[in-house]
Structure formats: structure tokens, C-alpha cells
């Protein structure tokens, strides 16, 4: 019995060998998987680096060969080699600011309503609908804007329907789904104890939302807004169709929103197709791309800075 027992039991040496084999197999396995992941991650970085390098290589001649004063000029007219970037910058910023002013209050209030006040059936009906909105191709929205929004804006008294305001309206509409669904997710991620605690202290539902839930979800909301702005500034086709593409800087005033503008994205899209490769025009268009890249980069860093600003990890919610 004792002997049998001894025979069935693997010797120490055998056990050690098994453990080593197991460990080896695991190591080999993990080696492949780990390095696979590393490779995938690295390739993403490498591809981004390559894109950035390509952008810099093609765009830098514009900044090296053209005097800065000319790039800062107020006329953009490639035929006469007038490379003033100001009207394009102005157009992009105006349209994006307009879109943000329209979309952020609308988006935040919609998300707060859906997340905190709406009955369940409404939430279940509207949330998928809003997410569906995000899936509409921008060219379709651009066409709708061209056909319906532009005549509407003209009826408001604008000299033409193709204005910065029309573009802002369209972009606001396009960034709403992003803002609403991410804000709603951020609100949802606020721990239940926060609400319970606030209500237990005698706060009304409104006080609870305004004083407790919204501040707790701050970082998620900031990201929602930034992603919304990002969508707006990078949008091309829809904007090209409704903003009129006049590289003009009208006199400042509230009326500027009702003047046509030309955005950086629309300029690249409209002119890149026919430009001779290697010409100055070609390089300047890539230069416009660099400026656009820097602006989005600045917005992203600003978002990171704002989110990082002393908010506890937990309250950030889903991110």
C-alpha cells in the first residue's frame, strides 16, 4: 500500500521537470502574444509618425520658402501666388466657434435630461436614435443643408444662404450625437452613492444634478465637448457645400456669421485635386494641413490638461 502510494506519486524530479516544461510553454506563448501586442501598438505609433513626417516634409517648403508676412496676408488666391492663410484660419475658427456655441448647451442639456430626468421609455427611445444620427454620412447632411438650411438662412435676411452660420448649424447638428452620448455615459458613470448622499442631505433632484452629478462627471463632459469640437473643425465636405467658400474677412460684428467664409479643410479638398505635385501650391496646401493638425493637437492637449486638473479618477467615469 505504502509502496503503491509511493509509485503513483510523481517523484520530485518529475514534478520539477513538468513545472519547467509548463513554464517554458507559458513563456513561449507569452513571448509571442506580448510581442504581438507590442508590435501592434508600435505600428500604430510608427504609422502616426510616418503620417506626421510626410505632412511635415510636404508642407515645410511652404513655411521655408514663403515669407511669413505673406502667409499672414489677408488674400488667398493661388493663381496669383497670394498665400494669405488668415481668411482660411478665420473661416475655420468662425464656423467652429459658432458650432460650439450652438451644440454645447443643446447637447449638455439633452444629455442631462436623458440621463437624469427622462422616464425610462424616453431614454430607451431617444438614445439609440441619437446614436443613429452619428452614423449619417456627412455628405448627406451637407446636401440636406444645401437644399433646406441655406434657403432658410437666406430668409433670415442674409445676402446669401451660404454663410458661416449655415455651416455652424450643420456642424452643430453633426457634433450633437458625440456630445450627447459621451456626456450621458459620463453622467451614468457617477456612483450611485453620490446621488443617494445628496438626496439624503435634503437636496432636490435639480440641486443634486447641478451641484453633485455634473461636477463629478466634469472630466467626461470636457472630453465630450472636445470631441464635438474636434469633429466640427475637421469636417470637410458638408462645410464646403454650405459655407460659400469665399476667402474673405468681413468687418467684425455680429453680422460676420451671416457672411460666406472659406475653411481650411474645404480649401484643401477643393484645390488638392488639380494641383501640380511638387508645386508651391501643393506645398502650401500641406502647410494648411499642418496648421490644422496643430490646432487639433492644441485642442486635444487642452482637453487632457483640463481633465487632469485635480479630478479624482473615479469621478471621471467611463474613461
Amino acid at each position: 500500500m505504502n509502496l503503491d502510494d509511493n509509485e503513483e506519486r510523481p517523484s520530485l524530479r518529475e514534478m520539477a521537470g513538468q513545472a519547467v516544461r509548463l513554464a517554458r510553454a507559458t513563456k513561449w506563448d507569452e513571448f509571442v502574444i506580448e510581442n504581438g501586442i507590442r508590435l501592434a501598438g508600435m505600428s500604430a505609433i510608427v504609422i502616426i509618425a510616418l503620417i506626421f513626417f510626410f505632412l511635415l516634409r510636404e508642407g515645410s517648403p511652404a513655411f521655408l520658402d514663403i515669407p511669413l508676412r505673406q502667409l499672414g496676408g489677408s488674400r488667398w488666391y493661388p493663381i496669383e501666388a497670394l498665400w494669405g492663410l488668415l481668411p482660411l484660419l478665420y473661416g475655420s475658427i468662425l464656423v467652429t466657434v459658432g458650432a460650439t456655441v450652438i451644440a454645447v448647451p443643446l447637447g449638455l442639456t439633452t444629455a442631462v435630461y436623458l440621463g437624469e430626468f427622462a422616464p425610462t421609455w424616453q431614454r430607451e427611445l431617444f438614445k439609440p436614435l441619437i446614436e443613429l444620427l452619428a452614423g449619417i454620412p456627412s455628405i448627406v447632411l451637407g446636401f440636406l443643408g444645401w437644399v433646406t438650411l441655406a434657403p432658410l438662412v437666406m430668409r433670415l435676411g442674409a445676402p446669401t444662404g451660404l454663410t458661416a452660420f449655415t455651416g455652424s448649424l450643420l456642424l452643430a447638428y453633426m457634433s450633437l450625437p458625440t456630445i450627447i452620448s459621451i456626456t450621458e455615459d459620463a453622467l451614468y458613470a457617477v456612483p450611485r452613492e453620490y446621488r443617494d448622499g445628496a438626496l439624503a442631505l435634503g437636496a432636490t433632484q435639480w440641486q443634486m444634478v447641478w451641484r453633485v452629478v455634473l461636477p463629478a462627471a466634469r472630466s467626461g463632459i470636457v472630453i465630450a465637448v472636445m470631441l464635438g469640437i474636434g469633429r466640427a473643425i475637421g469636417e470637410t465636405m458638408a462645410v464646403m457645400m454650405v459655407t460659400g467658400n469665399a476667402a474673405n474677412i468681413p468687418e467684425l460684428g455680429l453680422g460676420v456669421f451671416f457672411e460666406p467664409v472659406r475653411t481650411m479643410t474645404a480649401t484643401i479638398a477643393a484645390e488638392m485635386g488639380e494641383v501640380a505635385q511638387g508645386s508651391m501650391h501643393y506645398h502650401v496646401l500641406f502647410g494648411v494641413g499642418i496648421v490644422l493638425f496643430l490646432i487639433t493637437f492644441a485642442i486635444n492637449s487642452l482637453a487632457t490638461r483640463l481633465v487632469g486638473g485635480g479630478v479624482r479618477r473615479r469621478s471621471g467615469g467611463m474613461l
Binding site: 514534478m15 502574444i33 505600428s43 502616426i48 493663381i79 497670394l82 441655406a150 445676402p159 446669401t160
Partner: protein
């Protein structure tokens, strides 16, 4: 025994959990990798597409392709002809390249092309060079490029001079009242700067054909990506003015302005006849030049271009055909 047994059991779930985590992490990075690869592929494809420009159809079963080079205004039309001619004569291939009218004529004189496309008359210098080389240049008008000035149907303005048009498009005149219309701001519509029509309008109207003149479009000009963009904005905006190739005009939806070459000169409506006769001021002939009397396949190709079939393509691309039948 119990120890080792437990060890094995305790080990494996942890391992599985580890694997599961790894796999799901890998899933995410794979997706993002895929997106990046797709994006990169798109970027590359876009770059290649930009380079693709003018097609080259040489070497399709014949000893030598017919070489056709010149004006960029004509390049799309020439490509359309070459493509359509394949169905007529599948064995003949025609190589089309742009580069400008001057390049085309120079190549013709060098003997490297058979047909030179040009959007301008051949110059005295070029004729002299040809004579020195003993080349007898033949000129064929293959199409007419006429630009119609169009406004909204409700606009009371019927006629404008070229000088008024230049003042309007450079922003020196900004109200319709100044040219006999309503008291309303003028909304300027134009094609994008990369369009041949834009350049022609710039040279012939905005600068009045004066090579020293450096005037350019007013910054308020709305630049439309297509002719359709111009016409549809024009149809709903009573204060807009625009221009387009005569082939695109639809007089039931837009009013065509009569244009005078200068103050005191007669106002001429654009039409096939006035464009062909040269009375209408914003029109130019588009030419094909050959070195000597064309023969064989080249002569047959030219005949086909000037036939109603070839001229129907002229109209499709927004130019004025030179054969009456092609208009209907």
C-alpha cells in the same frame, strides 16, 4: 500529492484569466491597427489618385499611338474623344497629354506629336518657326468655349458691358442699382480657382484681356466646386450673378445677360451663331493644329471629331459644338 494537485488547479485559472485579458487587449489594438492601416492606405490611394491626372492610352495593339498634346482647357475634351473613339476604331489608340497650348504647338513643330490642342490662335512666331522648318501648319476649329453670364430670372438687368462685368467681379461695383437694377447687393458666384473656366474668365473679363492687368476676383466671391453649385445657388438667390459654359445654360431657370464688348457697342446674346461668328465677346475658338495635311488614321480621327458624334461630346463637356446638328 495534494499539494501538487492544488498547485496545478490554482495555476490554470490564473493562466486562463491572463490569456483572456491579453486577447481582449490585443483585440482592441488590432482594431485600431486595422483602422490605421486603412487610413494609411486611403492616404496613399489619394496621393496616387492626385498624380494620375491625364490618362495615357498608348500602346493598345498598334505600332504607334496617335499623339495628342496641348491645352489644359481641352485636355478633358480630348480625353473624352479618345475614349469614345475606341468604340469606333478599337485598334487605334490615342495618347492624350496636357501641358498647355504652347507646349502642344512646340511639340508639333518638334515632330513629337501628331495633333496639338490649343485654346489660342497660333502666334506669328510659331508660324515663322514652322515656315523655317518647312512645316505647313493646318488649323482646325474643333469646339468653341463660350461663357454665358447668368442672373436670377427676377433680376431686371438685361445687359452689361465687359467693363461693368470687370467692375462687378473685382468689387468696384457692389450694388445692382449701379448697373440699372434693384437696390440690392451683388452676390458674386464663380467656379473654383483650379477650373479652366475660372482662369479664362479672369483673363478675358476681370482683366479685360489685358496681360499687364493684375486685377483679381473680389474676396467676397463665392467659389463653387461645380457648375451645378453655381446654377442652383443662382436659381434661389435673386441678387446673384454667375457664369458658366454656354452648353450648361438652361434659359427656363436662369436669365442670360446680353454682353457688349465695350461702352457704346451692341449688346449680344450668347448663342451658337454669335459665339461662332465672334460677335459675342466672351467666346474663343478651341483649335487642333496638324503639321501638314493629315492623312490616314489621323485624318479619319479629325473627321470623326468634326462629325455630329464627336461634336455631341463637345456639348456634353459644356463647350459649344461647331456643328449645328449636335445641339439637338
Amino acid at each position: 500529492m495534494t499539494d501538487s494537485y492544488r498547485m496545478g488547479r490554482a495555476g490554470s485559472p490564473r493562466l486562463q484569466a491572463n490569456k483572456r485579458q491579453t486577447i481582449s487587449r490585443m483585440g482592441i489594438s488590432r482594431v485600431s491597427l486595422l483602422i490605421f492601416i486603412l487610413a494609411a492606405a486611403l492616404v496613399l490611394a489619394a496621393c496616387r489618385g492626385g498624380r494620375g491626372g491625364t490618362g495615357d492610352q498608348a500602346g493598345a495593339g498598334l505600332d504607334r499611338a496617335i499623339q495628342n498634346k496641348g491645352s489644359d482647357t481641352l485636355v478633358n475634351l480630348a480625353l473624352a474623344w479618345a475614349e469614345a473613339y475606341r468604340e469606333v476604331e478599337p485598334t487605334i489608340s490615342i495618347a492624350v497629354t496636357g501641358g498647355g497650348s504652347g507646349t502642344g504647338i512646340a511639340s508639333l513643330l518638334n515632330g513629337t506629336v501628331d495633333l496639338a490642342n490649343s485654346s489660342r490662335d497660333i502666334s506669328e512666331n510659331e508660324i515663322a518657326t514652322a515656315a523655317n522648318l518647312g512645316i505647313d501648319i493646318r488649323e482646325y476649329v474643333v469646339a468653341i468655349d463660350a461663357i454665358a453670364i447668368i442672373v436670377h430670372l427676377d433680376n431686371p438687368v438685361e445687359e452689361l458691358t465687359l467693363n461693368q462685368l470687370a467692375d462687378i467681379y473685382t468689387g468696384r461695383i457692389t450694388n445692382w442699382r449701379e448697373v440699372g437694377g434693384n437696390d440690392a447687393p451683388i452676390i458674386l458666384l464663380s467656379r473654383e480657382t483650379n477650373s479652366g473656366t475660372h482662369v479664362y474668365f479672369l483673363e478675358e473679363v476681370v482683366r479685360l484681356g489685358d496681360r499687364q492687368n493684375r486685377d483679381i476676383f473680389a474676396p467676397e466671391t463665392l467659389l463653387m466646386p461645380s457648375s451645378v453649385g453655381i446654377t442652383s445657388e443662382l436659381r434661389r438667390n435673386p441678387n446673384a450673378i454667375g457664369y458658366e459654359g454656354l452648353g450648361y445654360v438652361d434659359e427656363s431657370h436662369e436669365k442670360v445677360i446680353r454682353v457688349a464688348a465695350g461702352p457704346g457697342l451692341p449688346y449680344i446674346p450668347p448663342s451658337l451663331e454669335t459665339a461662332a461668328s465672334g460677335d459675342y465677346p466672351i467666346a474663343r475658338n478651341l483649335y487642333i493644329y496638324t503639321a501638314g495635311e493629315p492623312t490616314g488614321e489621323i485624318a479619319r480621327y479629325l473627321d470623326w471629331i468634326l462629325s455630329p458624334v464627336g461634336q455631341a461630346i463637345v456639348r456634353e463637356l459644356g463647350f459649344v459644338p461647331i456643328v449645328d446638328g449636335a445641339l439637338d
